[in-house]
Each structure stands twice: as structure tokens, then as C-alpha cells.
């Protein structure tokens, strides 16, 4: 039974190796319910691996993961609770838009047909159109519609806007915000660009080099990070250049925005990995 206090994602020491390649290591997270989580990291940081582990298409090598209190992908009931749109929003090229809705209706007990039809209508998709003939943006919207009308408690979107032009990105994210509010679902969406997520997410996870660099609610993170020019104040930790972390209020410090914050952590990880290699 999922309650409002059940964390959406809870992992402990989670790791995934492919042969000798470590895709994700020592990942410990606690994501409360009701958040829109931005998962940010450079290409190859392990974002897709973490999302695959969360919806259960990938099994962990080490550690534990619970999604909405259960093992991911373990049962039909668990699958019904998690909606997933994979990278590049795969759809059946030979099936029409209407066929995709019928697929959703046949395979999901909590399917919301009015919602699906409403979305298709508002997006201006022709139900008879074959999915193979849709544009990248339309395909992403169709995949999102199928995932949303499933009425899951958690929606996972892997790089949903990567293939969209800036205008479509903006429309996609605004539309996402609208129906997240309408459905009351938790959302995890990933991107290699923090700028995409900044406007929508209220919880941030920064992933780099297969490890979690930073995780928490956006407001909390902004409250403890500052921009300080010059010497490092006592009790503060320098992340990268003038971005520092300090729980205490620092006189004269400037606030930091989310994009700079994420960039500081990703840069620090990149520098450390170069330093480690040298």
C-alpha cells in the first residue's frame, strides 16, 4: 500500500555494472512523494541506468532500490504504478495513434481513456496517423500520453525533450506541468541540460561519473549554496570557483541559481575524474 509518506524512490548503495564498466555506483537516494525531480548529468553519467533501475527494466548489480515501497517492475501491480517513457520515446511505427491508445487501454487496468483522448485532441494528433509518420515532438507527446493515461503514481521520463527544438521543449514542459498538477503524480525527468529542468523541477539530483553528486529539494539546496567572491569563509566548502556550500548565513554572499549550482557540481566531478586519471 502506497501512502503519501512512502518515499517515491529509496535506494541504498545501489550499483550497476555491465561487465567491467560501472554505470552507476554507491547511489543512495531518498525522494519524497509529490516532487518533480530533475535528474541532471552529462552524457554517460548513468542517468538512463538509474531510471531503468527505477522502473525495473534493469536489475541492480549491488545495493537495494524500492520504488513506491516495492521492488521495481516485480509485478503487474507495481508496473501499473510507474509510467515510463524511454529515451527517444519509442512507439510502434506501424501502429496508429488510436492503436496506441487502445494498447494502453488493453494493457492497463487504471487506463484513463477520456484523459488520453483529451490530450490527443489538444495536441492536434490525428488518431488515424501511423506513429512512424509523427515528428519527434509528436512522438514524445504520444509516448507521454500513453504513460500519463495509465494513471501511474510515478512518471519517469528519460530525456523527454532531448530531441525537441527549443519551442517544442518549452511547450512540452509547460504541458507537463499542467497535467502533473491535474493528476497529482510524482515525476522524475532527466536531461543533460539543467536549463531544461530548471523551470519545472522542485527536487534535484546531479549525477556525474556514475555517482550522485548532489541531491535534495531545490529550495533546501539553494538555501545552503552561495556565491562568494574571494576567500573561503570558515565552515564553508568550496564546490567550484565561487560557488560554496555553507549551512550558516554568509554575510556579503550572493544567492546562486540552480543552473550554476548544477554546473558547479558537474564541473567539480569532471575535474576530479581528470585529476584522478592524471
Amino acid at each position: 500500500m502506497t501512502t503519501a509518506t512512502t518515499p517515491v524512490i529509496e535506494t541504498g548503495g545501489l550499483g550497476k555494472r555491465y561487465g567491467r564498466t560501472t554505470a552507476l555506483a554507491d547511489c543512495t537516494l531518498h525522494v519524497p512523494a509529490g516532487r518533480i525531480v530533475g535528474l541532471v548529468g552529462p552524457n554517460g553519467a548513468g542517468k538512463s541506468t538509474l531510471l531503468g533501475l527505477t522502473c525495473g527494466v534493469i536489475a541492480p548489480t549491488t545495493g537495494s532500490i524500492k520504488v513506491l515501497g516495492n521492488r521495481p517492475g516485480g509485478s503487474a501491480a507495481q508496473l501499473a504504478k510507474v509510467g515510463f517513457v524511454a529515451q527517444d520515446a519509442p512507439v510502434y511505427r506501424g501502429l496508429s495513434v488510436a492503436d496506441h491508445l487502445r494498447l494502453g487501454a488493453r494493457l492497463n487496468p487504471r487506463w484513463d481513456q477520456p484523459l488520453a483522448e483529451r490530450r490527443v485532441k489538444r495536441l492536434g494528433l490525428d488518431p488515424a496517423q501511423k506513429a512512424g509518420g509523427l515528428s519527434g515532438g509528436q512522438r514524445a507527446q504520444l509516448a507521454l500520453t500513453v504513460a500519463a493515461a495509465k494513471r501511474a503514481e510515478l512518471l519517469i521520463l528519460d530525456e523527454p525533450v532531448a530531441s525537441l527544438d527549443p519551442l517544442a521543449r518549452h511547450a512540452f514542459l509547460r504541458d507537463l506541468l499542467d497535467f502533473v498538477a491535474e493528476l497529482g503524480v510524482s515525476v522524475v525527468l532527466s536531461s543533460h541540460l539543467l536549463g531544461d529542468l530548471e523551470q519545472v523541477c522542485d527536487h534535484l539530483i546531479v549525477l556525474a561519473a556514475g555517482r550522485v553528486q548532489l541531491a535534495g529539494d531545490v529550495d533546501d539546496l539553494l538555501a545552503v549554496h552561495h556565491r562568494v567572491a574571494g576567500a573561503l569563509p570558515t565552515g564553508a566548502e568550496r564546490i567550484h570557483e565561487d560557488v560554496v556550500r555553507s549551512d550558516a548565513v554568509l554575510p556579503g554572499a550572493q544567492p546562486v541559481d540552480l543552473e550554476d549550482l548544477g554546473m558547479a557540481y558537474m564541473t567539480r566531478a569532471a575535474v576530479a575524474s581528470i585529476g584522478g586519471a592524471a
Binding site: 503487474a76 508496473l79 524511454a86 519509442p90 510502434y92 487504471r110 504513460a147
Partner: protein, 329 residues
């Protein structure tokens, strides 16, 4: 799941149904011709009978062999074009990410697809086999080579086993190989090897053969291809007892006391005409050893082979379920 299975499968189903309908029309036509001709062979005037029989054999051995080979190819086609792409194409186009994240477990997804499409494949092959078996029944009765490699594999129940095996083989190979073309090629290769090895190496060992002693007489001579003799002894080549599966290519012809038949003995029988010679030799009380599968084992062989194929199919399916649950990601 049933709807989705049908929706993704209906084009292939229509293609196969159309092909089957065309074959069925031809087979019904061929079947009625065989029946008419057979009636005239039975009602032949004694003087023309040999010619009538020969003509009957000549006219239908070709067409029936071709249709038989076609039926043997049907399971291969099912394995390659239905089985191999079933999962491989989903993995290639990444739609597994879509469909395996609906509220249906992979196990149920695979179970539905496997059961429905295996049944469809078996139904198509079974229908074809039923038509051909009916079609060729007079011919088989007349020629009596029911254990022949092509004849055995293209009649009655064994084609059902081949179809189920080929389809599940293709599916599982596709699941593991993850590439449609690779899976199609591998399926063809494996299926072809199995279909070559089973009739040539495996089938005859499914039941222990029977060895008996056959008297060398006119009847034995008429059921063999050749008889040869030299100073080391005499050999009968290609003898086949009516309706049986001969496992003896050639056998030494022996005297009643087990000693080889000699040239001198044969000389004693050089009378004049071939018929007289043979009658004389038959009077010399000769025999040879014959190893075979009796005619009455035709159905046990059909059932054993069907069961063996279905058993292997189940093992393959079990492996597929294990793989899709634990290894496929």
C-alpha cells in the same frame, strides 16, 4: 494482450492465410485427379496394369514430392518470419521499453505471444498436413514408402511438432541475439541442421530395429534393386519388405547352413530366362538377414517424434522465460 498480439501479427497472418488458401486450392485439384487416376489403375485390364501403375507413379511422385518439401519448409518460414522478429524487432526498435512498462509483466506478455502464435503456426502447418495427407493417401497406399524422409515428415502429426519447435526456436534466438537479421539467419541454420540430422541420424534409433531372416525367392528379388555375385559370395541390394523402413542397404545371401552362396551354386541355376534362373535359386533354400522398422511402427514413430519436438519446444520456452526475466535488459 490478445488484442495487441493480433494487432501486431495480422499482416503476417493474412499473408500466410492467402498462401495457404492457394496451396489448398491446388491440393484439392491434385487430390481429385489422384483419386480419378487411382480408380482407373485399380480397374485396369491385366495386360495394361504394369503400364498403368508406372504411369500413376510417374505422374504424381514429382508433384507430391514438391508439395511435401513445401510443407517441410513451412515450419522454417514460420520460425524465420514469425518467431525470429517477434522479440528481436521489439528490442531493435526499443519498443520493449514501451510495452514492457505497461501493467503486464514480461512473463505474461511472452506467454500470451508464445501460446497464441504457436497455436497459429501449428494450425497452419496442421491444416496443410491434413490436406496433403488426404491428398496423397491413395498414392502412399500404392507406393508404400511412408517412412521415406520427405513422406514421413510431410504427413499426419509430425509437422505440428516441427512448426511449434521452429516458432519457439526463432523467438528464443531473437530474444538472445537481439538482432532480427542475425536471429533469422541463426534460426534457419539451426532448424535446417536439426531437420537434416533427425531423419538421417536420429529417427531410426527412436525404437530398437527388428532383424529377421528373409527367404530368397521371386518376391524378395522383385522387392530389391539388384543382385550381385562374385567368388566371395552373393549380395542382395536395396531389398525393402512391403511398408517397412529398411535399415539394410545390402545383405549377404546365405545357404540354409549359413555358408555364403557361391558362384558354383549359381552356375547350376543358369537355365535360360531370368524367371527360370530366379525360380531355380529360390529352390536352393537361400536366405538373407534383414534389419528394419516394421510397418506397424509408423504411428508410434509419428507420435514419438511429435512428442520429442514438443518436449524440446517446452524446454526452449522455459529457457526463454528465464532469459526474459533475468537477462533481458
Amino acid at each position: 494482450m490478445i488484442w495487441l498480439t493480433w494487432r501486431q501479427f495480422r499482416t503476417q497472418a493474412l499473408v500466410v492465410a492467402a498462401a495457404l488458401a492457394a496451396i489448398a486450392i491446388y491440393l484439392v485439384y491434385l487430390g481429385s485427379r489422384i483419386r480419378d487416376d487411382y480408380a482407373s489403375v485399380l480397374g485396369c485390364q491385366p495386360s495394361d496394369c504394369a503400364t498403368a501403375r508406372h504411369a500413376f507413379d510417374e505422374s504424381y511422385t514429382g508433384p507430391l514430392s514438391i508439395v511435401g518439401l513445401l510443407l517441410i519448409a513451412v515450419p522454417a518460414v514460420i520460425g524465420i518470419f514469425w518467431g525470429a522478429p517477434l522479440i528481436a524487432r521489439e528490442l531493435e526498435e526499443r519498443t520493449d521499453r514501451l510495452v514492457w512498462n505497461q501493467s503486464v509483466t514480461r512473463t505474461r506478455w511472452l506467454a500470451t505471444k508464445l501460446v497464441l502464435l504457436t497455436l497459429a503456426g501449428a494450425a497452419v502447418t496442421g491444416l496443410f498436413s491434413l490436406l496433403l495427407t488426404w491428398n496423397a493417401s491413395r498414392y502412399d497406399q500404392f507406393i508404400g514408402d511412408r517412412f521415406g524422409a520427405v513422406n514421413f515428415a510431410s504427413r499426419n502429426v509430425v509437422p505440428l511438432g516441427y512448426a511449434a519447435f521452429a516458432f519457439v526456436l526463432g523467438t528464443v534466438v531473437g530474444l538472445v541475439a537481439r538482432r532480427t537479421l542475425v536471429a533469422m539467419a541463426l534460426t534457419l541454420a539451426v532448424f535446417a541442421i536439426v531437420q537434416l540430422l533427425v531423419p538421417t541420424v536420429v529417427r531410426e534409433h527412436l525404437m530398437a530395429p527388428v532383424t529377421t531372416t528373409v527367404a530368397f525367392d521371386e518376391d524378395a528379388m522383385s522387392r530389391s534393386d539388384a543382385f550381385g555375385i562374385n567368388d566371395r559370395g552373393a549380395t542382395i541390394v536395396g531389398y525393402t519388405m512391403a511398408g517397412t523402413w529398411s535399415l539394410t542397404d545390402d545383405a549377404k545371401v546365405l545357404n540354409a547352413d549359413g555358408t555364403p552362396y557361391t558362384l558354383q551354386q549359381a552356375k547350376a541355376c543358369e537355365k535360360g530366362s531370368q524367371a527360370e534362373n530366379t525360380a531355380c535359386m529360390a529352390g536352393q533354400n537361400l536366405h538373407f538377414s534383414y534389419t528394419y522398422q516394421p510397418a506397424g511402427r509408423y504411428w508410434p514413430f509419428q507420435w514419438i517424434e511429435l512428442s520429442a519436438y514438443l518436449g524440446v519446444t517446452l524446454l526452449l520456452a522455459a529457457f526463454g522465460f528465464w532469459w526474459i526475466r533475468h537477462r533481458s535488459s
